[in-house]
Amino acid sequence: MIPPEQRMLPAVKPLSRDFWTGGEKGELRIHRCRACGHFFHPPGPICVRCQSFDVAAEPVSGRATVATFTVNHQQWLPGFPPPYVVALVELEEEPGVRLPTNIVGCEPDQVEIGMRVEVFFEQWEDVWLPLFRPVAQ
């Protein structure tokens, strides 16, 4: 994947600030329920499993598995040339929690469902974008 010259950045909001800025300290931060321990994404004010309001972002390992992916061949955005891999990765801590992301650091045709990946961050203005790359074998 050619690194994009431009990305459309997310609207950082109170509930999503931890997710988009945790990378400044090298942390992938995911919302978790303190009552039942459930991780969930996107962040919200209530646990989607037990309905507790006692929820907050906390750091996770950043290790994940590719649940699925698509190789995009169409240019949708200026400064973001195809091909590139869009994936949903499932957190090691809780596989049902998926993050949309890009898989980089390998050719698109090397990406497979089940591949183990790890997070790294790319800073764009006030956002540290979580991206994933294959775990070194």
Partner: protein, 408 residues
């Protein structure tokens, strides 16, 4: 055929009180250069006329999505535009997007006539995306979104930073997972667009009517794996309207009333493109499950199926969701092409769907089901005189479906 387990509740709550008494469509095509509201009003007047009514008889209006238009050409006007344009004295009206997909406002119209809120509800869906987007192309529309003007919000907050701007990406993710789990092949997936093109050849209003072969399909450019160009529907200009009537108000009208047997309106999980517990199902399964709980009919009773094909894979999802085949078996269900053909056991997307007929956004599927049940489909008429039709619209977190019968 496998029937999903119904959720209980009153069997057949509509009790045959809501019927479809007429249907109409505007000119349909690419880059017509006509105003969206003009197309809307053309379709509405044709539907009213087809039902043997005049605008003075219409006392309700319902539409998706209303006058809002997130993308250029996505809406050819709201309920208010039609009330004003046709001089309708509406006792009940609705324009809505957060509902059971593109069919949601029509489901609401059924409830309105069933409860006596209105006698004849004019329901429409209108798009003019081909003209509105002609100078920039499909991709240009999305690129013009919030780029340079702000930041990605709503669910785009989670997808846009990664260049996942299109439903081709979001649904490509789901289709790829499905292929991984169930072994669906591109050759099987191709049967949906190939069937659509064969049927479109018999539909004078279809956008693409030239023959399409498997080789054409496999040789076309990729959009977002596993979807190639022919897996994506074609933006067009066109409006569709149907009249939903209170059964008792249809005496003496020219068209045999089509009974709305059941509505599928369920949403059992968070409406997301990425967090559904099972990535190989969609909100379609919730809608279908709720529908089968409201009727004693079963999938085996259905004669024709008009199932949304904004992307080819969505039709396969609907086939499974509605119980026409087991989960994971849709590829094998369609692979010979014969079963879903006009002479097969389950004729599918008989007007060419949206893949070849044009992206009329869901309500075109309902129009086609009605035309087939009335026996008015011309060259593409299913010869076996279909009496029961399944109609579905939407993909991902968007879903609604209907079951129609000719002899209510």
């Amino acid at each position: 055929m496998a029937a999903p387990v119904p959720p209980g509740g009153p069997m057949n709550p509509l009790a045959g009180r809501a019927v479809i008494s007429g249907a109409g469509q505007s000119q349909v095509g690419r880059r017509l250069g006509r105003d969206g509201l003009e197309l809307t009003l053309e379709a509405c007047l044709r539907a009213i006329g087809h039902a043997g009514l005049t605008p003075a008889d219409i006392d309700g209006v319902a539409t998706y999505p209303g006058p809002i238009s997130p993308d250029p050409g996505f809406s050819g006007g709201g309920a208010g535009d039609v009330i004003g344009g046709l001089g309708i004295r509406a006792r009940w009206y609705l324009g809505a997007m957060e509902t059971a997909g593109q069919l949601g406002p029509i489901a609401e119209a059924c409830l309105a006539v069933a409860t006596g809120m209105a006698d004849h509800v004019l329901c429409f869906r209108s798009v003019w995306e081909s003209t509105a987007q002609q100078n920039r192309g499909r991709a240009g529309v999305l690129a013009g979104g919030s780029q340079g003007r702000g930041r990605a919000d709503g669910f785009y907050e989670w997808f846009a930073p990664y260049g996942a701007m299109s439903a081709a990406n979001w649904l490509g993710l789901m289709a790829q997972r499905y292929m991984h789990e169930f072994g669906l092949t591109r050759e099987q997936l191709a049967q949906v667009p190939l069937n659509a093109r064969r049927n479109a050849a018999l539909n004078p209003n279809a956008v693409y009517r030239d023959p399409l072969t498997l080789e054409d399909y496999l040789g076309s450019r990729m959009i977002s794996t596993p979807f190639c160009l022919y897996d994506c529907d074609v933006p067009c200009d066109g409006a569709t309207a149907v009249i939903v009537s209170r059964r008792e108000a249809t005496a003496g009208l020219p068209q045999a009333p089509i009974t709305v047997e059941a509505l599928g309106t369920g949403m059992y999980e968070r409406p997301t493109w990425d967090q559904r517990a099972d990535l190989t199902t969609m909100a379609a399964h919730d809608a279908a499950h709720s529908m089968w709980g409201r009727t004693t009919l079963r999938p085996a009773d259905v004669d024709i199926a008009e199932l949304y094909d904004g992307f080819s894979y969505l039709t396969l999802q609907w086939l499974e969701a509605l119980g026409f085949c087991e989960h994971g078996a849709a590829g094998r269900f369609v692979e010979d092409g014969e079963r879903i053909s006009l002479s097969g056991e389950l004729p599918l997307n008989t007007q060419g769907g949206q893949l070849s007929g044009g992206r009329l956004h869901g309500v075109g599927m309902l129009h086609e089901a009605c035309v087939q049940l009335w026996g008015q489909a011309g060259e593409r008429q299913v010869a076996s005189e279909p009496a029961v039709a399944a109609v579905a619209a939407g993909g991902g977190p968007v879903a609604g479906c209907m079951l129609l019968t000719r002899n209510g």
